[in-house]
Amino acid sequence: MSSGDVEAGLEDEQASPTVSDLFLTFLRVAISGFGGALPFARRELVERRKWLDPREFNDLLSICQLMPGPNIVNMSFCLGARFHGVLGAAAAFSGIIVVPCIIAILLAALYLRYGQVPEVSGTLRGVAAAAIGLFVGMGMKMAYVERRSPHILVFALLAFLGAGPLGFPLPMVILVLAPFSIAAAWRWSK
C-alpha cells in the first residue's frame, strides 16, 4: 500500500497524535456535537489539531459518508487506525461513543421513572417534533442542492415513497433502487 509514504511526507508539518490525544479529542467532539458532530469534528481535527489538512478532511469525509455506518463514528475508526492501528481506532471510537452512551442511558433510565409526568412527556414530544423538523429541513436542503439533477430527485422520491408511506423494508428499497440509481448517476452525473 502506498499510503505509508504519503503519510510520512505529511508528518513533518502536521501534528501526530498520541493514543490518549485521539481519545480526548474525539471525546471533545462527542460532547460538543449536538445535532450533528461533523462541524465540530472539522474544527477540532483540521483547525485546532491540524491532524488533517482541509482537503484530506473532505476526502475522508466523503468516504465516511459513502460507506455505511454513522459518519463521525466511521471517521473515528479511520483516523484512529491511520495513526495507531487497532489501539488508535479503539481509543478514538471510545472517545466518540462511551460518554454519550452513558448520558443517553441515564436519561432513558430517568425517563422510565418519570416518563409519565406531563412535563417530561411534553418535553420529549416537543423535542421529537423539533428534531423531525430538522430532518425535513435537512432532506429538503439536500434535495435543493440536486435541483439540476432530475435523476437524483426521481430516485430520492422513489426511496421516500418506498421507505416511508409504502412501508417497504429498507433492505428491499435499497437493493431494488440502488442499481438503477447508480446506473442513472453513471449516465448523467459528471
Binding site: Q65, R82, A128
Partner: protein, 176 residues
C-alpha cells in the same frame, strides 16, 4: 415454543441493519422502527418516539438511538452489544475503504456509486421524518414546531440546538 432470546435477535438484526446506514445513522430509522415496533413488538410507537427524543437531546453521534433501543430491550448488555455491532463492522469497512480509495478519488464508478446512493439517502432521510411523525401522533402544535424547525433549517445556519431547545420548552409548558 421456546421464547426467543431478544438479545440475540437484537444483535443479529442491528448487525444487518448497520450496513444499510448509508449516509449516516438517521438513514436506518425506518428500519429500526420496523424492527422494534412492527416486527418484534419490543416497544410501542410512543416509546420509540420518546427514545428518539432522548437520543436527540444527548450530545454525541446520532447512533445513540440504537444504543437506547438495545438498552430498552435487553438492558446494559443490549446497549453495549447493539452499539458495538452497529459501529465496529462498518467502521472497520470504512477504514479499509479509506486506504483503498486514495487510488480511486476520481474514478468514474466511485462517483456513480456515491451519487446514486446519495439520491437514496435524500429520500430515506425524508422517509425517516415521515415515519417519526406518524409514530408521534402529531397534533397541530407538534406540526407547527416541526414546520418551524424545518423552515429555520432551510432558511438559516442556526445551530440545531436552538430548535431542539425551543421544542423542549414548548413541550414542557404543556402545549404539545
Amino acid at each position: 415454543m421456546m421464547p426467543r432470546d431478544p438479545l440475540l435477535d437484537l444483535t443479529l438484526h442491528v448487525f444487518f441493519v448497520s450496513f444499510l446506514a448509508i449516509g449516516g445513522a438517521n438513514a436506518i430509522i425506518p428500519e429500526l422502527h420496523r424492527m422494534a415496533v412492527e416486527s418484534n413488538g419490543w416497544m410501542s410507537d410512543g416509546t420509540f418516539a420518546d427514545l428518539f427524543a432522548i437520543a436527540t437531546m444527548t450530545p454525541g453521534p446520532n447512533v445513540l438511538l440504537v444504543t437506547l433501543i438495545g438498552w430498552y430491550v435487553a438492558g446494559i448488555p443490549g446497549a453495549v452489544l447493539s452499539t458495538l455491532v452497529m459501529c465496529v463492522p462498518t467502521g472497520a469497512a470504512a477504514y479499509y475503504m479509506s486506504r483503498l480509495s486514495r487510488k480511486f478519488q476520481k474514478a468514474r464508478p466511485r462517483i456513480a456509486i456515491q451519487r446514486g446512493l446519495a439520491a437514496l439517502t435524500v429520500g430515506i432521510v425524508l422517509a425517516s421524518a415521515f415515519i417519526l411523525m406518524r409514530s408521534t401522533a402529531h397534533d397541530w402544535v407538534a406540526y407547527a414546531i416541526t414546520a418551524a424547525a424545518a423552515a429555520v433549517t432551510i432558511a438559516t445556519k442556526a445551530n440545531p440546538i436552538v430548535m431542539i431547545a425551543a421544542g423542549a420548552v414548548v413541550g414542557a409548558l404543556g402545549f404539545v
